[in-house]
């Protein structure tokens, strides 16, 4: 359902992505690992349509993100380091705004559903400026799932979350995959990543050097030092 084809991207003179290919079928959760600067966030942003690659294409369920952005973007929900929430607006207002941007038909019911699911009901009239990191993350997830996307992109979603919030997030991801959604996430915390993802890939210096299903790898050795594991394998 997601086809990433030969993506190259260079920033000034530094090549960040060198011909990355990735195919993700529907209902699969992929965990993308790599050290800082390997290009994980860049790749995710290219898939989301936020960054234009120098060459290559991204297709989501047959819709090319550049030539057919409206249909392609409707299927994407994204969580990144930033919450994309306006600090002056309340939780509810932020979600209403996002719902309007995506043209969600049953706006208020859907928002209520997500507020309850994310445990934000009691905070819905609080301004985003006063929310803690964990609550902001929950708001970001609610926002990402608002328009019922089929592909969820998560850029280091577990960063800065305590154990409880991480478990809650994992539960949401699991439910999403059970409902037939596809996930592409990047993370440093490989143990958490391995818990919800069936497939792991390693990005090193802009190239995909490792790509395997969870069953085929040794999870403990991988979690300890995925880079040398991946380099050893390839």
């Amino acid at each position: 359902m997601l086809n990433v084809c030969s993506i190259t991207k260079t920033f000034v003179t530094r090549p960040v992505l060198r011909g990355v290919d990735l195919d993700v079928p529907e209902g699969q959760a992929v965990c993308l690992c790599g050290i800082n600067g390997a290009g994980k966030s860049t790749l995710l942003r290219v898939v989301a349509g936020l960054l234009r690659p120098d060459s290559g294409s991204v297709t989501i369920n047959g819709h090319n993100i550049r030539s057919d952005p409206e249909k392609a973007k409707r299927q994407i929900g994204m969580i990144s380091h930033a919450s994309m929430a306006y600090p002056e607006l309340t939780v509810l207002e932020n979600l209403v705004f996002a719902a309007r941007l995506y043209g969600v038909p049953d706006r208020m019911e859907r928002i209520e559903e997500l507020l309850t699911g994310a445990g934000l009901m009691s905070y819905r009239h609080d301004r985003a400026a006063i929310l803690s990191r964990g609550l902001l993350q929950r708001l970001a997830i609610a926002r990402a799932l608002l328009h019922r996307p089929t592909l969820l992109l998560a850029d280091e979603p577990f960063t800065g979350l305590d154990g409880d919030s991480s478990e809650r997030l994992l539960a949401i991801f699991d439910q999403f995959v059970r409902d037939g959604g596809t996930i592409l996430m990047t993370t440093h915390d490989t143990r958490l990543g391995l818990r919800c993802c069936r497939r792991v890939a390693v990005l090193d210096k802009g190239s995909l050097i490792f790509d395997a299903m969870k069953e085929k790898i040794d999870p403990d050795r991988f979690a300890d030092d995925y880079l040398s594991y991946a380099r050893g394998m390839s």
Binding site: T10, F11, V12, T13, R14, R52
Partner: protein, 211 residues
């Protein structure tokens, strides 16, 4: 090939000056600055057209070559615009005893200079990605070009009491003027060409340094 162009340009300019100062001298003598003024004004506009074409080319294709041509033509155009305004002010002082007055031609020349100046400042001041800055400059190049005819028309709201109203009454003068225009145009082309390749080689050097 480029040296030929430069040689041709200089030859034409020398010819134009020589004819202008001997056979085609305009009376009174200070009006001869027109031989410098008019070709420069044409060239300043020509460079702007090149800037527009290069900007559109860059936005359409994303190839860096277009961006370099835009930068080069902006620099050349800036030089021509400066000479244009300077000679214009000298002429205006000699002819009507004022250094500057908001007459349509002078206003257009001034704004042309400002547009080039802002373009050059944008090129230098914008930090960031390799792709966004040339794009921003290219967009400004297009918007700035749209501004030029608007300047011309808006200046019509000012009474043009200083319209130069003489004509060239000898073939020598026309010849000198034409040669001057041709010379300056060729000079402009050669300058843009030279500057583009200078920019290209500097960019290559910087890239190699960073590798």
């Amino acid at each position: 090939m480029r040296r030929l162009l430069f040689a041709l340009a200089i030859a034409l300019l020398i010819a134009s000056t020589w004819i202008g100062l001997t056979q085609g001298q305009i009376v009174p003598v200070q009006r001869n600055i027109l031989y410098a003024h008019v070709p420069n004004s044409v060239c300043a506009l020509l460079c702007f057209v090149v800037l527009l074409a290069a900007s559109i080319g860059y936005l359409a294709t994303g190839r860096q070559g277009w961006d370099l041509v835009a930068a080069a033509s902006a620099e050349a155009g800036f030089v021509f615009a400066t000479i244009l305004n300077a000679t214009g002010m000298l002429f205006s002082r000699a002819e009507w005893n004022v250094w500057w007055t908001p007459s349509p031609r002078l206003v257009t020349s001034a704004i042309l200079w400002f547009l080039y100046a802002v373009y050059l400042i944008l090129r230098v001041s914008l930090p960031g990605s390799r792709h966004r800055n040339p794009r921003i400059c290219a967009v400004f190049g297009i918007i700035a070009f749209l501004d030029v005819p608007l300047v011309f028309i808006s200046a019509r709201f000012i009474p043009d009491i200083h319209r130069p109203n003489f004509s060239f009454d000898s073939a020598w003068q026309t010849a000198a003027l034409m040669l001057g225009m041709a010379g300056t145009a060729v000079l402009a082309a050669a300058l843009i060409w030279l500057r583009t390749s200078l920019l290209r080689s500097r960019l290559k050097l910087e890239e190699e340094l960073l590798q």
